[in-house]
């Protein structure tokens, strides 16, 4: 089966992000960018399905400014077969991303689309279920294990009280949780090979989608800072302060 894996270019998870001084957003200029960590897990899972002979072709998709092609190259170096870049300057929100991905899915006819459960920049955690809705497909979100069995996929999901296992009729949308796998590092030969793989360029208009954002960011503020606390010298002092000063025990 064909598998699509959307990958997002985000501020690297190790970067300490700062709110811009004019409160219009987060400072991203000159900041290291990487593939969204949950999307790396999605690529890894697709590559493992191909290694098991379940997936036949993996298409990595990214959207945004031309540099998103680098994120696709990373996926290609991990083992994806080809890429699609939807190029636009518009601030893409999950609804627009889901519509663009639906248009690509209509053309590509995959049986499975694996996405990260959330992007670590906007923390929306929305695109996977939204894409499933637009396609009318089943969804297995927050997956920690998946097994394809004929035209069914068995998904173990991380839910609030523990784990839940569901059976989904294919085609399906999967979103990845942390424990699904540990993504590989691309080897140098595979990075070289990835340079020869093709990336198709498209525009939202080619896909018949109006990507205009529905949410306007009015302003972005620093979160309230916690006051610096105090060091205590002993367990006895700690318990005493929690009782008499903080009054929480």
């Amino acid at each position: 089966m064909k598998v699509l894996v959307p990958v997002k270019r985000v501020v690297d998870y190790n970067v300490k992000v700062r709110v811009k001084t004019d409160n219009t957003g987060i400072e991203t200029s000159g900041v290291k960018m990487s593939m969204n960590p949950f999307d790396e897990i999605a690529v890894e899972e697709a590559v493992r399905l191909k290694e098991k002979g379940v997936a036949t072709e993996i298409v990595a998709i990214s959207m945004g400014i031309p540099q998103c092609a680098e994120t696709i190259r990373t996926a290609l170096a991990m083992g994806a077969d080809r890429g699609i870049l939807v190029e636009t300057d518009v601030d893409l929100q999950p609804l627009a991303v889901a519509k663009l991905l639906k248009a690509i899915a209509d053309q590509e006819q995959p049986q499975l689309i694996i996405l990260g459960k959330q992007a670590i920049d906007d923390d929306m955690s929305a695109t996977g279920p939204m894409l499933a809705a637009l396609l009318g497909w089943s969804q297995g979100t927050f997956a920690s294990k998946l097994t394809v069995d004929g035209d069914t996929i068995i998904v173990t999901r991380e839910v609030d009280g523990g784990l839940e296992t569901v059976a989904l009729n294919l085609p399906s949308i999967i979103t990845t949780d942390l424990r699904l796998n540990e993504p590989r590092y691309a080897s140098l030969p595979n990075i070289m090979k990835a340079r020869k793989k093709t990336i198709d360029n498209k525009k939202p208009a080619d896909l018949g989608v109006d990507p205009t954002p529905r949410l306007t960011v009015v302003r972005v503020d620093e979160p309230p800072k916690r006051k610096a606390g105090q060091k205590v010298g002993s367990v006895a002092e700690l318990v005493s302060k929690l009782r008499t000063e903080a009054k929480v025990i």
Partner: protein
């Protein structure tokens, strides 16, 4: 126009995050609360007692058992014309169902709100809570998940709302529930506990989490963990506190052997009082802790248990 809140419940009643979602919804209009599933008499009665709920709607059908996203989204979309806002708590259930509803309504969802400014404008955390974005929606209808830690839950007792069944249309059957392995614990749920004690990589292994137990017993605390401890296999995933796990804001949060990675801080920094116990005095957790104890946790934890026992 009224607002609709999807409630979650278990044998002990309406879950606390859902009661926080009702609290967030109150400023937006009359609150209608939906309970869905198979066999709802107790849940509907509990929902009717919530303070701030004007009407309880029940959707009782085998297809809705376990709140699978596909049929639940179809149900909520059918109910949507009567409501200006559709809300649920930011939980595994809310995050699974509400984006699906939003897409079917051609609406951009507003995830994990921490404040309501007006009917169109909300504050939500971005970048693991390192920024608080004020966003204004141009959609006619709003689909919203609510950060429970940011809203005081409405009282579970005191209301007396009428209960009505809703009409059930076609519910898709593309997914099937097979099983759940839910941890059985006598302790309060992480997101509802007054006190949380969490262990990190410094705990060294899963067996050492037993050192947290007597303290949790004494304080009536829930036990949590950092992502590092979960990834290392010390404890199951449902223990994880952080950006990608559970967001908690208890009265007292005790972080033991946790360095304080940004992604962990995002999950607990709204706690009223934070205590950190760590042998590394440079650990970033001390920058957010009200009380920091630089100590070997293997010495400090038994001492703490004994000290709490003493009085």
């Amino acid at each position: 126009m009224a607002v609709l809140v999807l409630l979650e419940f278990d044998a002990s009643g309406i879950k606390q995050p859902s009661r926080s979602a009702v609290a967030a919804a109150q400023s937006l209009g009359d609150v209608h609360a939906l309970v869905a599933g198979a066999g709802l008499a107790d849940a509907a009665a509990a929902a009717a007692k919530l303070v701030g709920v004007a009407k309880v709607l029940t959707a009782d059908a085998p297809a809705l058992d376990h709140l699978m996203a596909e049929p639940m989204a179809a149900l909520l979309v059918a109910m949507a014309p009567d409501y200006s806002h559709i809300l649920a708590a930011t939980t595994a259930v809310g995050k699974n169902i509400l984006p699906r509803v939003a897409a079917l309504l051609d609406v951009q969802p507003i995830s994990d709100i921490a404040a309501v400014i007006d009917a169109d404008t909300f504050v939500r955390p971005i970048y693991a809570g390192n920024g608080m974005a004020t966003v204004k929606s141009s959609d006619a209808k709003k689909v919203i998940t609510v950060r429970a830690a940011s809203f005081d839950p409405v009282a579970a007792e005191g209301g007396s709302a009428p209960i009505e069944p809703v009409a059930l249309g076609d519910l898709p059957g593309t997914s099937k529930f097979i099983s759940a392995e839910l941890s059985k614990s006598e302790r309060p749920e992480l997101t509802a506990a007054r006190v949380v004690i969490s262990g990190g990589r410094g705990m060294q292994n899963g067996a050492n989490f037993a050192l947290l137990e007597p303290i949790a017993d004494k304080l009536g605390a829930a036990v949590g963990a950092s992502r590092a401890a979960v990834d290392a296999g010390f404890v199951p995933n449902e223990f994880q506190v952080g950006q990608t796990g559970k967001i908690v804001a208890p009265e007292l949060y005790i972080a033991v052997g946790i360095s304080g990675a940004i992604q962990h801080l995002a999950g607990m920094k709204d706690s009223k009082v934070i205590v950190a116990i760590n042998k590394d005095e440079e650990a970033p957790i001390f920058q957010v802790a009200d009380y920091g104890l630089v100590a070997d946790l293997f010495v400090a934890l038994p001492e703490l248990a004994a000290e709490l026992e003493r009085s």
